[in-house]
């Protein structure tokens, strides 16, 4: 009796400690980010930072405008989403609703395999195969462009989007489908009007996770987008993303310098953007659930 109470309370305390540690760690990271980032804004105008066109952190005088980096991230991520979401969701529908059982099994294991490839490897393969291909097909001076990056990120987001959407679609009760078909709905009408809305929260979660996976993706993007910190006119221009900038330059800065703090400020901006996206997705999800 006593020992059961004892283990119960021990486990409870352990769980509490773990949760508490997690919260502490996250807040420490956040405060660190905030301190370094805000330290930067004490010396540099925030408006100029966000809307400045030039990122020259080491020139004299230095320029810390991250608009090109924001645009770079935007082009690449948005481009990836535009490609990955429709293709991924349709693939999920194909696998769970249309494909014959044998094909389904092969596709599912294939997709799981794709998800397991490390991003650096994908980046490398993209660099040697995709980049030249994009250059030739679109007849542009260099294949290292936002488009190549978007395509590759789409490819990386796809396994997550497909497999989680597929789970969501398959967990829609079969009785909904039967009900629709019994009313004389076609296969397409059933998928579009009944199964899709019923699976919507799950599909949205899949999209968020898939995009979430690539939004912070750095290495592969760095290898393939050309890394030019200039505002792109079209999606076929070389770009540089915020994450790539931080990763590439952090090693070269002097700790405590303006450049160093500037990179933290970029991190802070990234944090805010991610937070807003999550917030929007969350409230959307709540609305769909209702």
């Amino acid at each position: 009796m006593l020992s059961r109470n004892f283990t119960d309370s021990l486990i409870e305390k352990l769980i509490f400690a773990c949760g508490f540690a997690a919260i502490i760690l996250v807040s420490l990271i956040f405060f660190f980010l905030l301190r370094e980032g805000l330290g930067f804004f004490a010396q540099y105008n925030i408006k100029e930072f966000i809307s400045g066109h030039f990122w020259y952190p080491t020139s004299k005088p230095a320029g810390f405008g991250i608009l090109p980096l924001i645009m770079g991230s935007l082009f690449v991520t948005l481009g990836a989403a535009v490609i990955a979401v429709p293709v991924g969701v349709m693939a999920a529908f194909y696998i769970s609703e249309v494909a014959p059982v044998a094909v389904r099994d092969i596709l599912k294991s294939g997709i799981e395999l794709l998800a397991a490839i490390p991003s650096v490897v994908i980046g490398f393969i993209g660099m040697v195969t995709l980049v030249p291909l994009v250059r030739v097909i679109f007849d542009i001076p260099t294949g290292l462009s936002a488009f190549s990056g978007a395509l590759m990120l789409a490819f990386m987001a796809m396994p997550t989007i497909v497999s989680i959407s597929e789970d969501a679609i398959r967990s829609v009760p079969g009785t909904y489908k039967e009900g629709a078909l019994a009313l004389g709905a076609t296969k397409w009408q059933t998928m579009y009007r009944i199964i899709l809305p019923a699976a919507a929260p799950g599909i949205l979660a899949a999209v968020m996770l898939g995009i979430g996976r690539v939004i912070g993706e750095t290495m592969a993007v760095m290898m393939i987008t050309g890394n030019a910190a200039a505002i792109p006119d079209t999606i076929f221009d070389p770009v540089r993303t915020m994450t790539a900038t931080i990763a590439a330059e952090m090693g070269e800065t002097v700790k405590g310098s303006m450049h160093y703090k500037g990179l933290f400020a970029i991190g802070l901006v990234l944090f805010v953007i991610t937070f807003i996206i999550n917030f929007i997705a969350d409230s959307f999800l709540n609305r769909v659930k209702k």
């Binding site: 079969g174 009785t175 009900g179 019994a182 009313l183 076609t186 809305p197």
Partner: protein, 253 residues
């Protein structure tokens, strides 16, 4: 009224994998009649009526032999349009299965997929169907609420209304009153008798009195076989088969 055969079942055998679920079925289902299917649980009643709108197409690893003729045409012929068939042969499932949408959306779905968009028509048909299914008074002020918030019996009546709204010609009811109280049951029974004028109706039921009250013909199933099929009166008062007699008198099953 002339007895007109609407559905002719010829030598139907049906298998789930190796399980022989329906054995050598032959029967005629008449237009403007209510045909009741009775028999102990697991004897194949649901399996049988799910054949008539080809719902069992969705179950994999099944084998079917034989024919079911609807107005003289075999519904399993390769050139039959299943969607067209299901618009003609509506079904109310054994377990209520409303869509996870509002009450109103549940009802208009069947119309919308046929291309009806006129708001006035949708509203009118919704109300008519809900009234027929004895649900209108309970839900008229909350048509935009989720159908999943209705009680089990209300959901069942919603599914009946959803089926009625598209005006099929044949309706398959799989235990439509299983989760209803006596008052709603009474209303649904009245509805079925009323519907008989315009429709061909099949009802699966475990309730002997119900079968006796509403049906013209009764089929008694046992272990996938059709033991006896005839006028309801004969089945209940003068059954030919000993097993039928035992079942309807409650001596086994």
């Amino acid at each position: 009224m002339l007895e007109e055969i609407r559905i002719k079942v010829e030598n139907i055998n049906f298998f789930y994998g190796l399980k022989h679920a329906l054995v050598d079925l032959n029967m005629d289902i008449y237009k403007n009649r209510v045909t009741a299917m009775i028999g102990p649980s697991g004897c194949g009643k649901s399996t049988f009526i799910r054949l008539i709108n080809r719902m069992n197409d969705l179950v994999s690893h099944t084998t079917l032999k034989g024919r079911i003729l609807l107005d003289g045409k075999n519904i399993f012929d390769p050139d039959v349009d299943v969607v067209e068939l299901r618009r003609k042969v509506g079904m109310v499932f054994q377990k209520p299965n409303p869509f996870p949408k509002s009450i109103f959306e549940n009802l208009v779905y069947g119309l919308q997929i046929k291309g009806v968009t006129d708001k006035k028509v949708l509203n009118e048909k919704t109300e008519t169907a809900l009234r027929k299914a004895a649900l209108w008074e309970e839900v008229k002020d909350r048509l935009n609420d989720s159908a999943l918030r209705l009680s089990g019996g209300q959901q069942q009546r919603l599914c009946i209304a959803r089926c009625l709204v598209v005006e099929p010609e044949v309706i398959l009811f799989d235990e439509p009153c299983a989760s209803l109280d006596p008052i709603s049951t009474r209303k649904i029974e009245d509805l079925i008798v009323e519907l008989k004028k315009d429709y061909t109706i099949l009802v699966v039921t475990h309730n002997m009195q119900q079968a006796a009250r509403i049906s013209t013909k009764t089929a008694f199933f046992l272990l996938g076989e059709l033991i006896e099929f005839g006028n309801t009166e004969d089945i209940f008062t003068n059954p030919k088969d000993k097993r039928t007699e035992d079942y309807v008198s409650g001596r086994f099953g």
